[in-house]
């Protein structure tokens, strides 16, 4: 019997093998993950392919991967990239998410999330976030005010993100849904491009 772990291990060593996939009981549904108007979207909101990322602003690997994927998404032009904060590193990560999602309400999510992703180090404090925000033209106070004005909805989103990530059994961040496939951990730019091409191929072969 091929278990999930086997499948993932095979994924690391299957270069020469055809794509293999299996559904997993207990996973959130694709609709739950990809249809959610509260989630910030980067790239093309009407794109033909959706990537969902579960991330934390204090995850150093997420920061590296973010700008690589941003370049890919911009160059592609047809990717809908959903950013789901999954708070795994505590209070400061919660604060960063609140600031970013408040900024989303004000229409400047991409600017603010990029500024937060550029903060050096994987161990942030509120001063780091304040400093990054100063470069965006939006004060943390304004972003937090927007967050508090819509706190119940945003807190529910953060809770939903955590439930989904735990439902997938993710061990950390970043983790991705690319098309209808689950990927644990960052992919190199070349591997990400391949994963995107594979997802489009599956969509083409089996349209919704």
């Amino acid at each position: 019997m091929i278990t999930r772990r086997h499948m993932l291990a095979l994924g690391a060593a299957a270069t020469a093998f055809p794509l293999t996939a299996t559904a997993q009981p207990g996973f959130p549904t694709l609709q739950e993950v990809t249809v959610d108007p509260d989630v910030p979207v980067l790239g093309n909101p009407n794109g033909d392919l959706t990537i969902v990322e579960y991330f934390d602003y204090q995850c150093s690997v997420c920061k590296h991967a973010h700008f690589d994927l941003l370049n890919i998404v911009k160059a592609d032009g047809h990717i809908r990239w959903m950013m789901r904060d999954w708070i795994i590193f505590g209070e400061v990560s919660t604060y960063a998410a609140q600031v970013a999602l408040g900024a989303q309400k004000l229409g400047v999510y991409e600017t603010v999330s990029s500024a937060l992703m550029r903060i050096p180090g994987g161990n942030l404090n509120k001063g780091d976030i304040f400093g990054a925000m100063m470069q965006t033209g939006l004060s943390p106070a304004d972003a937090l005010k927007a967050y508090r004005a819509d706190q119940a909805r945003i807190d529910a989103l953060l809770a939903r993100n955590a439930v989904q990530a735990e439902g997938f059994g993710f061990s950390g961040t970043p983790s991705f849904i690319i098309g209808n496939a689950v990927y644990r951990g960052a992919l190199s730019p070349n591997d990400m491009k391949q994963a995107i091409a594979d997802a489009r191929q599956r969509q083409k072969a089996t349209p919704v």
Binding site: Q24, T29, L30, S60, G122, Y183, R184, D191
Partner: protein, 124 residues
């Protein structure tokens, strides 16, 4: 439900990096307790590291318990600056009479930053 509506785990035809290991294999932790003295040791496969500053301990009331860790390796990151980490093995020494909650976190290089692991080391 159509095929496409099911979420799948894919054996992807990409291979630049190994799939992340489960946390217990990525950061295999053992400890020895002799009286108040607790020695903790981790063994990590190649490509995995623990953050020195994120190895912490607390008592049953949540108060910080002092922990001694050796100097680590400065991981120079051109974008994000230096950070002190352990590759291969790590250790920590704790002296405390009661139960200890040990917390640690680390990453797979360029792959995954793991959820912090919390382990309770019972009182003697």
């Amino acid at each position: 439900m159509s095929f496409f509506l099911a979420l799948l785990v894919v054996a992807a035809p990409v291979a630049a990096r190994e799939a992340p290991l489960p946390p217990a294999q990525a950061f295999a932790m053992t400890y020895v307790r002799q009286g108040d003295a607790v020695q903790v040791r981790w063994v990590m496969p190649k490509g995995y590291y623990l953050y020195r500053e994120h190895i912490t301990a607390s008592d049953a009331q949540g108060r910080t318990v002092k922990i001694r860790t050796p100097n680590g390796t400065m991981k120079a990151d051109p974008t994000f600056g230096p950070v002190e980490v352990y590759y291969g093995t790590a250790r920590a020494d704790i002296r405390h009479k009661g139960a200890i909650t040990l917390s640690y976190r680390g990453c797979q290089a360029d792959g995954l930053c793991y959820i912090p692991v919390r382990v309770v080391i019972p009182a003697r």
